[in-house]
Symmetry: C2
Subunit: 174 residues, 2 copies
């Protein structure tokens, strides 16, 4: 899992909880992640981390945003490219929200964003979801799907959110 | 509200609860409505009815489905028509799921479906959401947005689900 590898760099061990995540509908990733972490930490003796990510296309009013997984399953990258036909503004971003929750406490949230553009056609086979049509600005023109996990982890939204969390968490412990 | 008017025909009075509905992410309207009803009936002395509806386009893998409100806000009817360009299969349906929940009990669910096609362009100003691009088969070729509320209530998915619920509810009482 991407997340564990990033967290490990900061000396944090994550373990996947074998429960169903309760995902609410909301335009806010932070709200979705917070709710899931709060629910998961309820009546469990664990400190929980929950993460939610989405692909936001500027010309599409932020679509598919928090519903990226569903949009990918139904429309795929082809659907997004079709919607982008004739659009001059190809700005898009991947965003991730991470919520940390200690049982009985309010969740604390962290965000990661990576800005880029929607490519003209899908490229690459790594990663998942809309990775093949997203070219990050902090890159060399390749899509997320053309990068190795190691390369993606340096700049990705998920990595950004986890990095912030890890820094906060380890500084709290010292 | 459409719902109260239909329920009243069956002698059922509905009152809008002034609370925020907890909507989960799911491909199943029944699951979304059940969860919301269960949450709303928790620690409240009311029998609760919750409803969820969506627009399902066959050629788009069911998209926008349970996320129709979000898809409408971001892509609009224009977005769906753009996605449908060149598609021969224009089959679509509106579906509604209604969950009834008595405090401390499991929710009971009812469904309503209305089949139709995606129109070539938006028509009509009544209704809301994707009504202007949906032509029900049980009609005269007009879109939902070209019908009056009274006409729509005879055939609509929402009306169908409420009608089923009302029949069940009143027969239970007798």
């Amino acid at each position: 899992m991407e997340a564990s590898r990033i967290a490990e760099v900061f000396g944090i061990q994550l373990k996947q909880l074998n429960i169903e995540k309760e995902e609410i509908q909301s335009d806010s990733l932070t709200e979705i992640a917070s709710h899931a972490a709060l629910q998961a930490a309820k009546s469990r003796p664990y400190r929980v981390v929950s993460e939610d990510a989405g692909f936001f296309v500027e010309a599409l009013g932020g679509f598919p945003g928090p519903y990226s997984a569903y949009a990918f399953r139904t429309l795929g990258t082809a659907g997004i490219l079709k919607l982008m036909r004739g659009e001059r503004n190809r700005n898009a971003s991947f965003m991730a929200a991470l919520a940390y929750c200690q049982p009985g406490k309010h969740p604390v949230c962290f965000k990661g964003v990576v800005k880029g553009v929607v490519s003209r056609r899908p490229k690459g086979t790594n990663g998942f979801g809309f990775d093949p049509i997203f070219i990050p600005l902090k890159g060399d023109g390749r899509t997320f799907a053309e990068m190795s996990i190691e390369e993606k982890n340096v700049i990705s939204h998920r990595a950004g959110a986890f990095r912030q969390f890890s820094r906060w968490f380890t500084s709290k412990r010292e």
